[in-house]
Symmetry: C2
Subunit: 97 residues, 2 copies
């Protein structure tokens, strides 16, 4: 999942699909790369769960799944909580002396 977020293009696709569904070709127009390359990026995002596709006619509309973004954020918050806990533990040790 962090792997999916590790690429700037994919984060940009996430931003765009957070604002509303966009077709794969609609996305592809923006970037200086082939349609197939964009398709692959969307596939990576889809595999990670950050994005879903919905078929409408011959088009596939991509939309972000904000709950999954929240999962990543929560993961980082847990790390930060670890840090705060470490500080708290240090406080406890120091206050004992």
């Amino acid at each position: 999942m962090f792997r999916a977020l590790a690429h700037g293009i994919r984060r940009d696709i996430l931003r765009r699909t957070l604002l509303g569904p966009v077709s794969v070709s609609g996305l592809a127009l923006t970037y200086a790369m082939s349609f197939a390359a964009v398709q692959k990026h969307v596939a990576v995002l889809e595999d990670s769960g950050l994005v879903q596709k919905q078929a409408v006619g011959r088009e596939r509309f991509v939309r972000a799944v904000p709950e999954e973004i929240a999962r990543a954020r929560v993961c980082l918050e847990a790390l930060e909580a670890l840090w705060r806990h470490r500080l708290t533990a240090l406080d406890a040790v120091l206050s004992q002396e």
Copy 2:
């Protein structure tokens, strides 16, 4: 930076170094891989700014930089804010009608 977070071993190193400085060899003891491999993971974390090294004698103690973790979290929060903003905008449009 998300790239650095994309590997489980590196996230584990982050967790451990959040709790307090650990030497590179101290980290390496835990993992079923060579010292050099762990060294590389630490280097990736260091390049991303998520971790810093401090020389003490012949050892290098690795410590996490929580501010950098916060930066990644804030980035995800910005994405979520985008989502909430999109909902708000939709509300605005609907309430006009």
